[in-house]
Symmetry: C2
Subunit: 114 residues, 2 copies
């Protein structure tokens, strides 16, 4: 069965989030913008990848989402043909308190500049 | 005059620190260890590059210090043949409150593992 949902989406457990990986994930303006958009739909909101309208190619965009997921910043799940994204607020706030609160305004600044 | 002190050490003004550059600088275990060592000698302490005994080559070490300086995380100055390093605590706490307080314990964990 070669459907989109066959892709396994790996997420690190919240106890295994690495500070260096999370910082690296947040050290890019496009990824900060993604985080800020997801913060706008908290706590339960999910946004499909296709709704972000980022100023990068589709494959570059996919790479950014992957970096965020593998670092533990976002949760992704497939629903039909859509890939839905959600900020892992609880995990991040527990492990690295205050970090998201620094990152989100930075992402909003990026969005405002586009 | 080809002395060591002829090298110009560029430091970003505190108003121009970029979040993405600071996060990238702090997203490496060796650089986190340097930050933690400098935090141990705050507020006025400076440590010479040669005192860090990092488990990397001398040129790699120099590169790490340069990344930290150019991002605005540390201040460097030359004194004779020594290059002295100091954490830019005030600038970082003003621009990105809480970030250093997250990073320093991470650096101490790195040091404990060496």
């Amino acid at each position: 069965m070669a459907s989109r949902t066959a892709t396994e989406l790996v997420h690190p457990d919240r106890t295994r989030l690495r500070f260096t990986a999370v910082l690296a994930a947040l050290s890019d303006p496009v990824r900060l913008a993604i985080v800020a958009r997801l913060a706008d739909v908290e706590p339960d909101g999910e946004l499909a990848c296709t709704t972000f309208a980022l100023p990068v190619s589709k494959s570059t965009q996919s790479g950014h989402f992957k970096v965020l997921r593998e670092a533990g910043v976002i949760h992704q799940r497939d629903e039909g043909t859509r890939r839905l994204n959600q900020l892992r607020r609880d995990a991040l706030d527990t492990r690295f308190p205050g970090l998201l609160d620094l990152a989100i305004p930075q992402g909003h600044e990026v969005l405002a500049g586009w």
